[in-house]
Amino acid sequence: MSVEEKVIESVKTRFPEDIIEAKVKRKNRVSISVRSNRIYDIGLFLRDELGFNHITSVSGVDYIDMNELEVIYTIWSIDKKILASLRTKIPRDNPTLKSLINVWEGVLYHERETWEMFGIKFEGHPDLSSLLLPEEWDGPPPLRKDFLLPETPQEKLEEKIKRAGGW
């Protein structure tokens, strides 16, 4: 049994109910899908007992067709040399999630950026304020799929062709 499978096994035995899916994706990559209400406990378990200590990134993905937002915490274990993606899906209409700031201190700016770009409210985060966008920004969260750029390249292209006298 490889180290990756051991990790999966221990998570599954500890939280049998709350793991939706856990699998080894390839060498050094582990993916764990969990229910959003238990993400804090699973995060603590990953940090304390499995040694996933080095936060790599927090990212969001907007699945607009399923009306869901996915939040992915990617954590590297320095001793085990495994990258775990701790992922959870939350409804798009009411995106709230418990912040993991007390588990990994390094998520401070990552969560703030995800809040700003996807509108996901992290409960317990000390400072959810504008990070990259201008302070007077009042549009929707820009990385959601329903935020359209003022002019997509395709439209521009068609307009250009029209201006050039048709194709």
Binding site: N28, T74, E105
Partner: protein
Amino acid sequence: MSVMKLSMGPQHPITGHFRFILDVDGDLVLKLEPDIGYTHRGIEKLAEKRTYLQNLPVIERVNSYCDSAGTMLGYLEAIEELMGLEVPERAKYLRVIAAELNRIASHLYAACLFSVATGLETMLMWPINDRELVLDLLEKLTGQRITYTYQTIGGVRFDMPEGFKEEALKRLDYLEKRTEDYYKMLLWNHTFHMRTKKVGILKPSDAIKLGVVGPNLRASGVKVDVRKDEPYEVYDKFDFSIPTGKNGDSYDRLEVRFKEVEQSINILRQALKDIPKGPIKKWAPPIVPKGEAYTRVEAARGEFGYYIVADGTMKPYRLKMSPPSFRNLIALPHLCKNVPLGDIPVIYISLDLIPMDVDR
């Protein structure tokens, strides 16, 4: 005693495109709050509107003036993982050569910024001059000086020009000798020791907890390097070591970078010696199959992570970049608590943050 709010930047000689809001009491900085986003270009959103191929020039501008070759490798790794594409051996070597040359250029740039922060302008010019040698080599190889668009999906675009190998080896020898002068002028300079030793000490436990990466993490004594941990391209074929620091102060962070330049020269010598003959590019389809991949590469400033969600079209559904400077940024307010005002530039520059990399 009253606390004064001091706004440092974005129009300030040292901060670049950052703004720091400092709480200053006399000459003591109680708290630093970074204000970023002055160079935010929304590359993650732009990438969703462009095809995988069109993204190449856009993505390398995340880290444009220092390390575009090393930065782009991760994106290509992710796409090739999704496609299941095996890149020709010679192309892998050429990618490594470009990335390592770029690492040398980037670290020399870091050294010159560091000496500006301490007020020594001579060491601004010397590494910049010698960086020119490396940039000239890269221009010979790729056709550009800073943004190369050299590596592409399935390989590299140009082969090594004639006489490149000899010229490169000659210049690497020169650079290795030239480093002695840097040590004499900067690193062994007693005044420089006074300014940088025991300034901004980042403990290993704190560094891991905050998620600091790259030379900054290694300077704290934690031996983490993606090139060794999960070798990408052909890094598993080279014999090189990972330099680490002892104290984790500003001085160590610079010294680790200098030692990394030596290791890069070492890698380049091996790569130029062992490079096999063969094709340099493999045809790649424009459509990437459905799936997702997270890849990491060791760029000059540290680990660069790419998370790509592909939905089976020509364009990525989601591209997440996790650049090293953004992850190192959190160490800045952590280190700048109750330090003299004069140490702020030193600590800031020692972390080697570049605003474009932070903002994307």
